[in-house]
């Protein structure tokens, strides 16, 4: 049952995101579509994944996917923190420059 529902959910999410994503982020939408297509294929035909998981000593294919997903998400979290700080730095620099250029003498 899940094998059928899961791809349907993915397709629905993609359809909504097609509208929700800003036009400038169309490439990101295609990347998401690619990942979702792989996930959908994995759900409908889990045998190859299962074979890889068994080979690696992981019981279930689901666990293999979960481990990979957690690793990717944690990495993404750290990278976005760093990007945040860089942005903050740049914003500070811009604000500072504006302040110095606009210095008013009493």
């Amino acid at each position: 049952m899940f094998r059928l529902i899961f791809p349907a959910v993915l397709i629905a999410v993609l359809a909504i995101d097609r509208i929700a994503f800003p036009k400038a982020a169309r490439r990101a939408w295609w990347a998401l579509a690619g990942v979702f297509t792989l996930a959908g294929i994995g759900a409908v035909y889990p045998e190859p994944l299962q074979a890889i998981a068994s080979e690696m000593g992981i019981g279930r294919a689901v666990d293999l996917v979960l481990y990979l997903a957690v690793a990717v998400l944690v990495r993404e979290f750290f990278l976005s923190r760093i990007r945040d700080q860089e942005l903050q730095r740049e914003l500070t620099q811009i604000t500072r420059t504006l302040a110095v250029l606009g210095a008013q003498k009493k």
Binding site: L91, T95, R96, A99, V100, G102, A103, Q104, K105, K106
Partner: protein
């Protein structure tokens, strides 16, 4: 600026201070007038006020004037934090070729009469940075027990972190020379800059000392000043810097 007439910059970050800023500036300018007539007669003064994105922006026309000092107003279009505001003020003062720098709070907590005391070791060339010490000879007035305990904890933490043996922490009243000012590049936009400053002093091996100053706690300055909960934020900012930018 030649040292025959040293230029002293007073850097004052201000955020939502409203009327209090004008009062502080009036008293400060009056005192600078006295210094100019007396012990620091050879010096010129530059007052740099940084409005750190206050909700009600500081108007330059409403600031007091004086023949004793030039007054500059800078405005951050968004609120960045006290560390960022200080850095902006220091950069303008460096552009104006200031020789000596004093940082002060806008709320009038710091006793302006002690500016000369603070500057003395720096101007005499004995030290690069003079930190105000509210636990010295002039013990802080009306300091709440909780605030004092927190500060002592911060002192212990900073001593451990930087190796600098100082009695006070996070006191915004300090003086330093141009050499130090050029080295201060704060990554910390918010309150953790006070810890970062000590780290920079340690890192660059700057000469430093502490000078006893008075900090006057009033109900309003306490209401607006750093909260105990701010300590957690400072630690978080420092940890973030350590892990992501070292």
């Amino acid at each position: 600026m030649s040292l025959s007439q040293p230029l002293i910059a007073l850097v004052i970050p201000s955020y939502n201070e409203g009327e209090r800023l004008s009062g502080t500036l009036e008293r400060l300018l009056e005192h600078l007038g006295q210094l100019k007539a007396g012990p620091l007669s050879k010096c010129a003064f530059l007052v740099v006020v940084i409005d750190d994105g206050s909700k009600d922006p500081v108007q330059v026309d409403k600031l007091p004037t004086s023949s004793a000092a030039q007054v500059f107003l800078l405005r951050h279009i968004i609120n960045l934090g006290q560390g960022a505001a200080l850095q902006t003020g220091i950069e303008l003062a460096l552009l104006k070729e200031a020789d000596f720098f004093v940082t002060l709070d806008a709320d009038g907590q710091h006793a302006h009469e002690q500016i000369a005391d603070l500057l003395k070791p720096v101007m005499d060339g004995q030290t690069d940075v003079a930190f105000g010490n509210r636990f010295g000879a002039h013990e802080a007035r009306n300091i709440p027990a909780m605030r004092k305990a927190m500060l002592k904890l911060a002192v212990a933490f900073e001593t451990w972190l930087t190796g600098l043996k100082l009695q006070d922490a996070h006191n915004g009243f300090r003086a330093f020379n141009r050499k130090a000012a050029r080295l201060f590049k704060f990554n910390q936009n918010r309150m953790a800059h006070a810890t970062e400053l000590k780290q920079l002093v340690a890192e660059y091996g700057l000469k430093h000392c502490e000078v006893a100053v008075t900090v006057q706690y009033t109900p309003e300055s306490l209401a607006k000043g750093q909260k105990t909960s701010g300590l957690a934020l400072i630690l978080k900012d420092l940890a973030q810097q350590y892990f992501f930018f070292r």
